[in-house]
């Protein structure tokens, strides 16, 4: 792989180093045919914060799952204090002092702080009951240590998200954690809460706890880091001391060489407005929180518009609202001249508007079905001849599409789960293209797939665009936004904040617009009085699929 920098210099197996508590040696992990980790060497040091950088699907989450015993590596080994260990389960890892705090908190909201801290490890009285008094005392001690005065009997559901995170940390400390892994701990926190969290982290490291920290908020992560490691496409590509790094370095390492594809020279002659989004506002049905705020955007036939934004910016909510999955609470969406109103997903597909969803496994594919059946699913009615699906028509269409989008498969009858991530994604795109859409929406179309497949997917989109398809896609990769779009719009906290020309704008401009560089001084405009625009990872946008 080109672009590998300083790899192997630092993480040399067998080197004696008292500071290293945990060492991962040549760890690899394979899901199906997807290689999420390709022989990674990695070390965690006592009393230091090691920050992991990397784009979605780079392999960070997979490595964390292996370190915390959630998953087993396909190859390689782990050394804890110089001893080779096998972490068979999460409780195995916890017993050895490794705890993980996930992006989605794992707390029982209906139980008290005390009960959550001791869940699964309750202290017993001599009679076998739970020793609530002692548990409460220890919980109080932990809260003092974390400088967060939460009463042990408070119900977790009554706490703010930041406080809930403190409870998670307290639980980890209660088990004598020496290595604490934090996966996107700040994604749901306000700026003030982030400061509290950082103070707690400093407190912990001074007590000798090793922290492994993952975040998409680069500046924030750089601020807390002692060591930085960067992942790309399943490889650990760079390591550095925090003193030596800055944002541009991190971004350069994350993206690596510029991608193979570059579509900046594509022709820019567009047709009529194919999709017109006019003042669309979307509120979460459960909470009423406004996640998309008065967004207006036109996409013309033949044009590829990239919507760049961080997780939680409201991108997925916007896409799903346009596709008809969720109702919009304000504004309107026009397809050509047609106001889509409250039409269903099904009617919108029939009119020529399709969505390629963000989460392939959950929303894109029917796992029990073959490649062919997945491809034909949205357009079955067009394959009906005299009440029945014509096998001849279906097979012809499906084989044509497999060839068109270049799916590598044994044939239409192969199980969809036998394909690699990139090929599965091509199937999800292909099945929407089979419906002959006028407008195609794609939510993170290149998440978790390798660079080669990314290039192929964009070639495909530009080819269709030349034939008149209007494309609107979401990404959180700047490189992609700059090289693979005709026009770039940036979304932040539910609003479209900037419109840029990818040929002339810079990476920094894009990131700045997305709010990535204003995490420390943002509290006032975005927090109270209303909580409308607080960035929070929604269920739809969590990094759950990042590794696959």
């Amino acid at each position: 792989m080109a672009g590998t920098e300083s790899r192997g210099d630092t993480a040399v197996a067998g080197r004696v180093d008292d500071e290293v508590v945990l060492r991962a040696i040549d760890i690899s992990k394979t899901y199906g045919v997807t290689r999420a980790l390709k022989g990674v060497n990695f070390e965690v040091r006592r009393g230091k914060v090691t920050v992991l950088f990397g784009e979605n699907g780079a392999g960070k989450s997979t490595l964390m799952k292996i370190l915390s015993g959630v998953e087993q590596p396909t190859g390689g080994r782990l050394e804890l204090d110089g001893e080779t260990v096998t972490l068979a389960s999460t409780s195995d890892a916890v017993d050895r002092g490794i705890s993980i705090i996930h992006q989605e908190l794992n707390l029982c909201a209906n139980l008290s702080v005390r009960d959550n801290v001791f869940i699964g490890r309750e202290l017993r009285t001599r009679l076998g009951g739970i020793d609530y008094a002692r548990e409460a005392e220890i919980t109080r001690g932990l809260m003092d240590r974390l400088e967060e005065p939460i009463r042990p009997t408070t119900l977790v559901q009554d706490l703010r998200v930041g406080q809930q995170q403190i409870v998670e940390i307290a639980r980890a400390l209660q088990t004598d954690t020496r290595i604490l892994i934090m996966d996107e701990p700040t994604s749901a926190l306000s700026a003030a809460e982030v400061e509290v969290l950082f103070k707690v982290i400093r407190e912990l490291t001074s007590q000798g706890v090793a922290i492994v920290y993952i975040s998409h908020h680069l500046e924030e992560a750089i601020e807390i880091a002692d060591h930085a490691v960067v992942f790309r496409d399943g490889d650990l590509v760079a390591t550095a001391e925090a003193a030596d790094i800055d944002l541009p370095w991190v971004v350069r390492q994350m993206v690596g060489r510029e991608a193979d594809y570059d579509f900046r020279d594509e022709p820019r002659e567009f047709g009529d407005v194919a999709l017109s989004i006019q003042g669309v506002t979307v509120a979460e049905p459960e909470t009423g929180r406004v996640v998309v705020n008065d967004v207006s955007l036109d996409v013309r036939a033949g044009e590829i518009v990239c919507l760049y934004g961080l997780m939680g910016a409201g991108r997925t909510e916007l896409m799903e609202a346009i596709a008809g999955r969720d109702p919009i609470s304000g504004g309107r969406v026009l397809l050509g001249q047609t106001d889509l109103g409250t039409r269903s997903v099904r009617e919108r597909i029939a009119l020529g508007l399709g969505l390629v969803p963000e989460d392939r496994q959950r929303d894109g594919l029917v796992q029990m079905m073959s490649v062919g059946a997945n491809l034909s699913l949205p357009s079955l009615l067009s394959m009906v001849r005299r009440t029945f699906i014509s096998r001849r028509v279906e097979r012809a269409d499906v084989e044509q599409e497999i060839a068109d989008v270049k799916v590598k498969t044994a044939g239409p009858g192969a199980l969809i789960t036998s394909l690699s991530g990139g090929n599965q994604q091509k199937v999800v795109i292909g099945k929407m293209l089979l419906t002959r859409p006028k407008v195609l929406l794609l939510d993170e179309p290149t998440r978790g797939i390798d660079v080669g497949a990314k290039g192929e997917i964009f070639s495909l989109l530009f080819r269709e665009a030349r034939k008149g398809l209007a494309v609107l896609y979401v990404t959180s990769e700047v490189g992609e936004a700059l090289t693979a779009s005709h026009r770039l719009v940036v979304m932040s906290r539910g609003r479209l904040v900037r419109e840029l020309d990818p040929r002339t704008c810079t990476r920094d401009e894009v990131m700045a617009a997305s709010g990535e560089q204003e995490t420390t001084d943002e509290a006032a405009p975005h927090h109270p009085p209303t909580e409308d625009h607080v960035p929070a990872a929604t269920h739809a946008e969590t990094d759950r699929n990042g590794a696959s």
Partner: protein, 373 residues
């Protein structure tokens, strides 16, 4: 601490019929159905060896008639289970249909007049099967539109329909009226519904008809494909433009239809409409579907497997009676066979998953070697 794993779902055994294009030899599918077939052959062999009366034409006809009732209900149940639902109300619907039909033979008191109307036989049959479909439609609406859990909804309907049956029959079986009276122009029920065309009971013919139609619907129509898709991944199906709610509603109507038809056939079979008609039919039907290789989680199952499953239960039950096993032990053995069938299914899937994982690892190593070069 639990964690959501993000690995792609392990390859599941694909439903036969959900594979367009070239028909490939699918070992797993053959094993899943083959298992039921092997069980059936073993059962037949054992009981044929134990009793001379087992494999006689007379006994086979008896078995087939009983199997047909269960199989028809099970076909409706298959539709619901393919969607990931369950229909516990079918047994009660069988009883309710028969009770409605019986009451119609007694005559319909027209309101506001002193007149009593006696519908013709075909009208009676259509109306009472319609009541069965109506029960299914209510189930479907509650499940699809109100998002109620199928288990609870149809459990409630089990009580409602059985209660209505008892209300309609009011403690009395309806027997004599079923023959009809020439002057009322409502005769001929038994002529049709207790007939034996070509020596086979009418219920067997209905079973064959339903099996063929359902099989074609599942494999050759968009509705069938949609049903498999919603059962496997409802979210993906919805985003692909599949009318998931409509599909969900319709399968319960189909289940009600099947139960209604069995209500009529069973009433003809025992020449009476009784309050306990169809009791426990839902359980036998679920057992047949599951033995036939369907997944209760939805998305996997076939008509062929379900019919074989119904035969397994029928041949087993009949054999146990013929060789004189006590009724108490019959239940124990039948239950054990059901559990065994599902256990074998799970074990096969676990083995399959491990094999796939091993293959994937091997493939990745090979791939790694080539990319590294």
């Amino acid at each position: 601490m639990t964690a959501t794993t993000t690995a792609p779902a392990p390859p599941a055994t694909g439903p036969a019929g959900a594979t367009p294009g070239r028909r490939r030899f699918n070992v797993n599918a053959v094993l899943v159905e083959g298992r039921a077939l092997i069980a059936l052959l073993i059962i037949i062999a054992i009981f044929a060896a134990l009793s001379d009366n087992y494999l006689t034409a007379g006994n086979l006809t008896t078995i087939t008639k009983q199997v047909a009732f269960n199989a028809i209900v099970a076909l409706g149940m298959l539709m619901v289970i393919l969607n990931g639902g369950i229909d516990l109300s079918v047994g009660s619907t069988v009883g309710l249909t028969a009770a409605v039909a019986g009451n119609l033979f007694r005559g319909l008191n027209l309101p506001l007049t002193e007149a009593i109307m006696f519908p013709q036989v075909w009208v009676i049959v259509v109306l009472s099967v319609g009541v069965g479909m109506l029960v299914g439609w209510v189930n479907g609406l509650l499940v699809a539109r109100l998002n109620l859990a199928p288990f609870i909804t149809t459990l409630g309907m089990l009580y409602v329909a059985r209660g209505l049956t008892e209300v309609l029959l009011n403690g009395q079986n309806i027997t004599n009226e079923l023959s009809g009276q020439p002057y009322l122009n409502n005769t001929g029920f038994f002529t049709v519904f207790a007939s034996r065309p070509l020596g086979l009971p009418i219920s067997a013919w209905v079973m064959i008809l339903f099996a063929v139609v359902f099989s074609i619907v599942l494999t050759r129509t968009p509705f069938g494909r949609w049903l498999y898709a919603t059962g496997s991944n409802e979210r993906a199906a919805q985003l692909s433009g599949v009318p998931v709610k409509r599909v969900q509603t319709r399968i319960y109507v189909l289940s009600g239809l099947c139960a209604g038809v069995v209500g009529i056939l069973q009433m003809a079979n025992i020449s009476s409409s009784t309050a306990d008609l169809g009791t426990y039919y839902e359980l036998n039907a679920i057992a047949a579907v599951v033995i036939g290789g369907a997944a209760l989680s939805g998305g996997r199952g076939t008509v062929r497997g379900t019919i074989i499953g119904a035969f397994v239960i029928g041949f087993l039950a009949n054999g146990l009676v013929i060789v004189g096993v006590s009724p108490f032990w019959q239940k124990v053995i039948t239950g054990a066979v059901i559990i065994l069938a599902v256990a074998v299914d799970q074990i096969q899937q676990i083995i399959g998953r491990r094999r796939n994982a091993r293959r994937a690892v091997a493939a990745a190593r090979q791939g790694g070697a080539t990319t590294a070069a």
